[in-house]
Symmetry: C2
Subunit: 391 residues, 2 copies
C-alpha cells in the first residue's frame, strides 16, 4: 500500500559518527536540598506526562486562565498581566528589564548577592544607566537606606532581590512600594526563592514588577517562570519610544498571546504548563498561610539542629529565608568534599557558595515538597555522620 | 517537636480572591495533526516524568553531553556548539540573530511565508539593516535567484527557512552554503519543521547557523529548542565589538554552561532535557534514512488520499514538505468550521492558514510519532465523513 520513497537521489551519505546509543534513562533518587531545583512534587511529575493538546486548543486556553489566576493567588496580586514566561527564572528576570528599561533610564539596584550583579548585567545590556547600592552578602537594606539612595539617585526603577538565593537573606519589602511612589519610580522584585514559600504580598507592598522560578518553593521542574507587571509598569511599557529590543520576551506581544486576543506568538510549553498548574493547585489547596508556616517551622527545625551540631548560619535569624539557609563551613573543613560525600554516599544534594561566599558556606534549600520535618532529620543525621570524617 | 511559627505578626490579610480550586488535570486524547505541537512519543512522555537530579549533578552533565551528541547526529553536523536552548523554537530563532547580528549588519532574508517575516522583525530589533527577497507563499528560491540577490545586496548573513511551517514548502539548501562562502556571508537556516523528518545535512550544505523546535518531527513537547553554530558563525560572534544585547540567549555565556567549563548561567530545564534525549534516542534507533523515508512515504499516502477526495495541495509536489501539507480549502467551504468539527467530533486537530494563506488552506502535520499510515487513514476517513456536511 505504501508508495516507494521519492526523495533525495543525490543526497550526501549519512554519517553515523554522532549516532549514540545511550542506555535507558535512569536517574538516582536524589534528595535535592541545594539552592534549586528542589524535588518536584510527585503529583507535579505525574501532571507533566499528561497527553498533549494543541496550544490553541480550547482546553489549553482554559488551563492558561487557571495558571494565571493561581499565580495571582500565590503572589497576592490582582495584576492582569500575570503569566508564566516560556523559559527559566532567568528569562523572566530578563523580561522585566527588557520591557521596562529604555536606553538612558536610570536603574538603581540593591546588590547584596549574586543576583543583584546579574540584574546589573542585564539592565546594562538594555541601555540602563545603572546605579548600585551595596551591602555585604547576607545583609539587607533598611527603609532609611533605601530612602537615602532614592533621594541621591532618583532612578526610574528600583530593583531589589526579595529572596537572595546566593546568600539566604530576605529583603523586607514592607513600605518600599510607598517609598517608590513618593519618588515616582517603579519597584521591581526578584521573588525566585520566595514565591510559594515565604510571605509575599505584591499588591500590599506596592511591587510593580516581579518574576520567579518554578523549581524552588513551587516544586515544579525548571523551564517555566512566573512573571507579572502592575498598572504602573504597564504604563511605562506603553510609553516606550522604542520597541522592546527582545522579541521572545516582548510583553506587548506575549501579553496578547496570554490575554483575551490569544494572538499567536510562540508555542507555549504545554506540558510545563500542566506541571505548573498542578504545582499551583497544591499551593491553593494547602493555603498560603499554612504553606508559609510550614516552611518557617521546618526551617527552624533545621537551624536548631545545625546549632546542635555546632554549625552556625551566615544570616541573622530575623532576615533568614526559610527556603534557603547558608551555613558557615567550619575552619579546616573542605566544604566541597563534604557535599560530594553527601551526594555519593546518601544521594543528598546541597549547594556551595557563590561569589563572596564561595568556599565559605553551604547552601541548604528546604523548598515546597522538600520542606518536611523528615527531610531535615535525614540531612541532620547525614551531616552528623559525615562531618567527623573531615575534621 | 516543631517550634511555633515566628513569621509576620504584622502581615496583611491573605486574599482568597484568586484561590481557584480547579478539577484534576485531564485532557482529551487529541490526535495533533496541525502545524505543531505534534503528539509526543509515549516513551518521551514517560522520560519527562523521571525523577529529577540537580542541574550540576554529574548524572545530568553526562546527559547534557548525550543530548548534544544526538543533536549533531540529527542535524548531520560536527559543530561543537550544538545545544538545546532553554525555551521554545522562537527563542532559538532569536538566539541565532541576537548572537550573530551587530548593529548595521546587512541581513538578507528570504520571505516566502510567515517565518521570514518573523526573522525580519527579530533582526531589526538587533539593529540589522534588513534586505528582503520575496516569493509568493508556498514557492521557493532557486540558486540563480539567490546568487543574484547576494550580488545585489552583499549581506553579512543570508537567512532562509528550510521548512516553512506556514506554507509547507521545502527550500532546497544544496549549494547555498557554497554560494554564501563565495560572497563571504553566513548561511542561517530555520529547520523547525524539518529536523528529524526531512533530509538535512548542515555540514554538507554549508549551513553556519540553525535552530529547530522540539515539538515537530522530534515528537517531544515544546519548551526546549535545538540550536547550533558552526566555526564561521562562532568567529563572527567572537569578533563582536558590542556584547550580545540579550543575556538569556548570549552564547558566549550559554556556550560555557554547555561546554567543558560548565559555568553556571541559568538552570537548565531538567525534565525537558530528559524528554529531548529520549526523542533523539528514537531518531538514532530508527536511523535518519529510515526516518526520512517513513515521513516521505506516509506524506505521499496523505497526498494521494486527499486527491482521491477531490482536494488539492497548495505546494508543487517537488517542494512539498513531508512533515507539513497545506491543503486548499475548496470554494464555498468554511475551513474553520471543518477544523472545529474534526476537533469536537473526532479529537483530530488540524491547523488553519496564516498571513497570505489565512482562510485559504488547512495545514496538516504528519510529524515524528504521528507519521504513521494509520494516522493518515483516520484523518482521510474523518475528512470523507465531515466534508459533505459543509458542501
Amino acid at each position: 500500500m505504501l508508495a516507494a520513497p521519492t526523495h533525495a537521489p543525490t543526497q550526501p551519505p549519512i554519517s553515523d559518527r554522532h549516532r549514540l546509543r545511550p542506555a535507558q534513562l535512569d536517574m538516582p533518587p536524589r534528595l535535592l536540598l541545594g539552592p534549586g531545583p528542589s524535588n518536584a512534587h510527585p503529583r507535579v511529575l505525574q501532571a507533566l506526562g499528561m497527553r498533549q493538546v494543541g496550544h490553541l486548543d480550547p482546553c489549553f486556553i482554559a488551563l492558561m486562565n487557571e495558571v494565571q489566576e493561581l499565580l495571582r493567588y500565590g503572589w497576592q496580586t490582582d495584576n492582569t498581566l500575570t503569566i508564566p514566561v516560556s523559559g527559566t527564572g532567568s528569562a523572566a528576570m530578563e523580561a522585566t528589564l527588557a520591557n521596562l528599561v529604555e536606553p538612558g533610564d536610570r536603574v538603581l539596584i540593591g546588590i547584596n548577592g549574586y543576583f543583584g550583579h546579574r540584574l546589573t548585567d542585564m539592565a546594562q545590556r538594555y541601555g540602563a544607566e545603572v546605579r548600585a547600592i551595596h551591602k555585604p552578602w547576607g545583609e539587607t537594606f533598611s527603609l532609611a537606606e533605601l530612602r537615602t539612595a532614592l533621594e541621591t539617585h532618583r532612578p526610574a526603577i528600583l530593583a531589589l532581590v526579595h529572596a537572595e538565593t546566593s546568600t539566604g537573606a530576605r529583603q523586607p519589602l514592607e513600605g518600599v512600594g510607598d517609598l517608590c511612589r513618593e519618588f515616582d519610580c517603579l519597584l521591581l522584585a526578584d521573588t525566585v526563592t520566595s514565591l510559594g514559600g515565604v510571605p509575599l504580598f505584591l499588591d500590599a507592598w506596592g511591587v510593580d514588577a516581579a518574576y520567579s522560578g518554578s523549581q524552588k518553593a513551587l516544586s515544579c521542574p525548571p523551564g517555566i517562570a512566573p512573571f507579572t507587571l502592575g498598572d504602573r509598569a504597564i504604563a511605562k511599557l506603553n510609553r516606550r519610544q522604542s520597541p522592546v529590543p527582545n522579541w521572545y520576551l516582548d510583553m506587548s506581544l506575549v501579553g496578547r498571546y496570554w490575554g483575551s486576543d490569544r494572538t499567536y506568538h510562540h508555542t507555549a510549553p504545554i506540558n510545563m504548563n500542566y506541571a505548573l498548574r498542578e504545582a499551583l493547585m497544591l499551593v491553593a489547596e494547602e493555603g498560603l498561610d499554612a504553606r508559609w508556616q510550614r516552611h518557617q517551622t521546618v526551617a527552624e527545625l533545621l537551624w536548631d539542629g545545625l546549632e546542635a551540631l555546632g554549625l552556625r548560619c551566615h544570616v541573622a535569624r530575623e532576615f533568614r529565608l526559610p527556603t534557603l539557609t547558608t551555613v558557615l563551613i567550619p575552619d579546616g573543613i573542605d566544604g566541597k568534599a563534604v557535599a560530594r560525600t553527601l551526594l555519593n554516599d546518601y544521594n543528598i544534594e546541597i549547594g556551595g557558595g557563590l561569589g563572596e561566599l564561595a568556599g565559605r558556606v553551604w547552601r541548604i534549600g528546604l523548598m515546597g515538597f522538600n520542606s518536611r520535618p523528615e527531610t531535615v532529620l535525614t540531612l541532620l543525621k547525614a551531616l552528623e555522620t559525615v562531618l567527623p570524617r573531615f575534621r
